[in-house]
């Protein structure tokens, strides 16, 4: 049996056909499954950070810290929000209108750039939060332990984020190598 003999089997694939109405709904950005999930996450996180900013001034001694410490905290929160927004834009704007080899090369370059931006924004966020909470605080042994534990958690988060991006980049690079070899 040759591969040609399998063309009939391939072309006999019939899945549940979509109606015109199903297809019409798929054109809407607010019905897009991945973008919908990211949007939901953005809304929840934005609301959370908004609430935090409303009460941090009195609850977390914002009033006892200098303006620069407060500004750093706000930049950190903005970095977290920007991280989500760039992720949304990245997921929405796939490169699909070129031949596969060209599109994937462009996509790989874009992904590397986005990965660096994503990690950079996360570092800004973590560094900003730590700076604010450690500003003007007398650090005793107990606080050193707490600070160390927090730092380890945040570094683990960075390592995981880095590994996710490296995995995606490696997988795409393998596909490209395999295509052009």
């Amino acid at each position: 049996m040759e591969l040609d003999d399998l063309k009939g089997a391939w072309n006999s694939t019939v899945s549940q056909p979509k109606t015109e109405n199903d297809l019409h709904l798929m054109l809407k950005e607010n019905k897009h499954p991945v973008l919908k999930r990211i949007r939901k996450q953005i809304i929840i996180e934005t609301a959370g950070w908004f609430l935090f900013l409303l009460c941090y001034y009195t609850m977390f001694d914002g009033d006892a810290k200098p303006l620069i410490a407060n500004a750093i905290l706000i930049i950190a929160v903005l970095a977290a929000l920007l991280h989500n927004l760039t992720g949304y834009s990245f997921s929405k704007n796939l490169i699909v209108d070129k031949d596969i080899n060209t599109a994937l090369h462009t996509w790989l370059a874009k992904m590397k750039l986005h990965a660096r931006l994503s990690i950079f924004l996360r570092v800004i966020f973590i560094a900003g939060l730590l700076t604010f909470f450690c500003w003007n605080v007398n650090i005793d042994a107990r606080r050193y332990v707490l600070l160390g534990a927090g730092l380890v958690l945040l570094i683990v988060q960075l390592v995981v984020l880095n590994r996710i991006w490296m995995g995606r980049i490696r997988s795409l690079r393998n596909t490209l190598d395999n295509l052009s070899r």
Partner: protein, 158 residues
């Protein structure tokens, strides 16, 4: 092209999208998500289709790029499918259905790039058309197809 014409075009060629989804995703939920992603990307890129290429060629290019580039969930969710993913045609023999299952399970073991080439080949595209969609040379297409055929034959024990 307006929305109505676009929907009609996609309706007529949706078989291509179904095949790509089945090839690149393992669960019904993931296939549905990819189907929607492809239709969304086709609609966003409608201006890049000027009718110079055949609609099928354009749909294949966008669908394959989307299937390869879009992120996949790392682990499949537990799935309770509301319906079978494929519809058994009334006049379809069991042998044909079995052959299709074996073919898909063999192709799924290929790399993403090889899947793209074999999908285009099985849809009766010539080397020139495959080269145009994949962006590799016709010679490279021929070499790759020979390797893929050998791999599939080995996987299918034929």
């Amino acid at each position: 092209m307006n929305e109505k014409q676009f929907l009609q075009l996609i309706g007529e060629h949706q078989g291509i999208i179904h095949k790509i989804c089945r090839l690149y995703r393992d669960t019904t939920v993931d296939r549905e998500d990819l189907f929607q992603e492809i239709v969304f990307q086709l609609w966003r890129g409608i201006n890049t289709f000027r009718g110079e290429a055949k609609p099928g060629t354009w749909i294949y290019r966008v669908a394959l790029n989307t299937a390869i580039a879009a992120f996949r969930k790392r682990k499949p969710d537990i799935e309770y499918a509301p319906q079978l993913p494929d519809v058994l045609q009334e006049d379809e023999s069991e042998e044909l259905a079995l052959r299709r299952e074996r073919l898909f399970s063999a192709i799924k073991q290929l790399s993403d790039g090889e899947k793209a080439i074999v999908a285009l080949y099985l849809d009766d595209m010539d080397h020139g058309q495959i080269a145009e969609i994949t962006g590799i040379t016709e010679n490279n297409v021929a070499v790759k197809l020979n390797r893929i055929k050998a791999k599939i034959q080995k996987l299918l024990n034929i």
